[in-house]
Symmetry: C2
Subunit: 110 residues, 2 copies
DNA sequence: CAATAATATATCGCTATGCCATATAAGCTT
DNA sequence: AAGCTTATATGGCATAGCGATATATTATTG
């Protein structure tokens, strides 16, 4: 796992990004983060689920329970219009952040 | 200021980087971070000073008081050999972190 | 068919980072 | 003398993420 503290504050951006194209449930989101980062990034459920509730409370995502035969119930979240705006802003913020750190630490962007 | 939480865990890398080429004192470090990030990144002294003490306690940096006529006393920190190793590791870790986030959020590295 | 693993959600108590506010002290400017 | 800048110091707070534990359903495997 990557530097423990570095990832703080990145979970929101990750979740919003993953919900951009399709609704997903929490467990799926957790796995996708792990897989797509090749195991380098991972969030504990005790972070993920409460964060999803927070995002929903803020109106950035909207969840609904889906029950299918032969499956545990799942709560699927979709991005709201407001969430889409926040995602755009956070993407921008992320880019600026990386640029700032790179400039100070002397890391050239490849 | 950039997303409040995003910057958590980045201060160590910034400080170690700024001490790479020359010893600096805390106040200087704080200003450099602000200037070089064009005001986008800023750390409060209540974060910076305790962090410097922590880094020194870990043996990554070494401080010494410098008193000059016509100047407030300053504590200059230099990077230790151990600190240099940690800096290299943290730079690597940072790069991987950025790569991971970019891959998941669909941000291409420019 | 019983044990185990994987899927899926939920939450308590803890740790760590950074901040606001406040403090001290010295030098510079007006 | 007052106020600004430089420079370090710290108590109490807010917040994100984690370890551990819990519940419940479905799948696998010996």
């Amino acid at each position: 796992m990557l530097a423990r503290e570095l990832k703080k504050g990145s979970a929101e951006l990750l979740i919003l990004s993953l919900l951009e194209d399709q609704p997903r449930h929490g467990y799926d989101i957790g796995n996708l983060i792990e897989q797509r980062s090749k195991g380098r990034l991972k969030f504990n459920v005790a972070s993920l689920y409460p964060l999803l509730y927070r995002l929903e409370r803020r109106g950035w995502i909207q969840g609904r329970w889906v029950e299918k035969a032969g499956q545990r119930r799942r709560r699927y979240y979709r991005l709201t219009a407001e969430g889409r705006k926040v995602l755009a802003a956070q993407r921008h913020s992320w880019r600026e952040f990386v640029e700032a750190i790179n400039r100070i630490t002397g890391i050239e962007h490849a």
